[in-house]
Symmetry: none
Subunit: 241 residues, 2 copies
């Protein structure tokens, strides 16, 4: 387990050992790991060396300490990673749901005032409008409407949408999202949302309006989503420095 004669530092071996235990479930989130003195006894290693390993794991977010109580396993990094620039599909997978999708409408329309403004186009420029009901474990989760400038995203078909729109955009068109601005608001579900999300009149929805930009600042996507408030919470982590 721990090889004192290895050229690999002991503290590093211990880190890998503990990380492996976390990954394969021997240690579960919020479970206390053995105390520093126990580890020291167990492997016949100085406590300071144990602390060096644990301190690194704490800094990496795998563990957290509580004075007088012990050292505990943190939630998986995926769960606490900042989230927002992912697609609905990725988002749902991370939350443990099986994502699904039902196409409501797909057409090219002239951009109205709001869409033109969001995508920095002149009015009446052709844009794709893709309206989909997003499912999680086959239950409606959100009504999502995507707007894409037709001159930027060419040759879109229903097949592509049903497969992976993002994959098409990133791989085939080699457009990469660099930055996105989101606006989040609370509202009461409108008539169409009530019907498609299968919720009752007066139910609250979480509206997320996202504008995605390329590296040069060009907006290339505007997405308007109405999430069922009873099933969806937006989670976000921010850091300073």
């Amino acid at each position: 387990m721990i090889d004192k004669n290895s050229p690999i530092p002991i503290y590093h071996q211990l880190e890998e050992y503990i990380k492996a235990q976390i990954d394969n479930g021997d240690l579960e989130p919020d479970e206390a790991i053995p105390s520093e003195r126990v580890y020291a006894d167990m492997f016949q290693i100085s406590r300071m060396t144990i602390r060096q390993a644990l301190t690194n794991l704490v800094n990496d977010g795998y563990l957290y300490r509580q004075k007088g109580k012990g050292t505990f396993v943190n939630k998986k990094k995926v769960e606490q990673r900042l989230q927002g620039l992912t697609s609905f599909t990725e988002d749902m997978k991370e939350r443990g749901f099986t994502p699904g999708s039902r196409l409501v409408s797909f057409e090219i329309i002239p951009s109205g005032r709001e869409i033109a403004e969001r995508l920095k186009l002149s009015e009446n420029t052709p844009v794709y409008e893709i309206k989909r009901v997003r499912l999680a474990d086959n239950v409606p989760m959100a009504l999502e409407t995507t707007y894409l400038p037709a001159n930027l995203v060419k040759g879109l078909t229903e097949e592509i949408i049903n497969q992976s729109l993002y994959q098409y955009i990133e791989e085939k068109l080699s457009l990469t999202i660099h930055e996105a601005t989101q606006q989040i608001e609370a509202s009461i579900a409108k008539e169409q949302e009530l019907r498609l999300l299968e919720i009752e009149k007066g139910s609250p929805v979480l509206l997320i309006l996202r504008t995605s930009h390329l590296k040069d600042g060009t907006p290339f996507e505007f997405v308007k989503s109405a999430y069922r408030a009873d099933r969806y919470k937006f989670v976000h982590t921010m850091q300073r420095g």
Copy 2:
């Protein structure tokens, strides 16, 4: 310079000392700082203690090490504000409103299950509960409830709250927010919210639950805010890679 009898840990004193030297230009980027043994001699402190201070500064990005050569000052890290993580007061000023506040209640209560979990405390640990109606141009904008561990944030008074809670926390207690997790959901206003926010029954509210952490990961603040959906939208920008 370094006070061995101070209750403040020596390594922390040394961190502050070095940070100050970097900030005021006594130490310049890519300049080597004194070696660990020199510091140890200079302050009559064990080398391991010096290392603890330097390791923290390396993790924080102030310094970098090169084996066999020395420890060097890093380039200034851009002081960037937490996006979407400003205080209500700053937020409202940016939006062009005059912020205000009305204290609803202020007491020390034993932490319930949810609060204990959010602040990683054991249940029934004393916490401050501060409930305020937040005003923008003298109109209710949000009902905000703040929970702070009483053992961490000591000596809180109504005066402090009415002036600047954050200033008190950052300057007087020298606690700095390093990271925060927000959870955003939509809901229908509850009875108390209806009354205090002066909105009608069935009105939607945007709930923002924020947990703020110190650099070591200790949660030190949990804030539950209910914003009037007709007046407030949460805006946020994200970047990739």
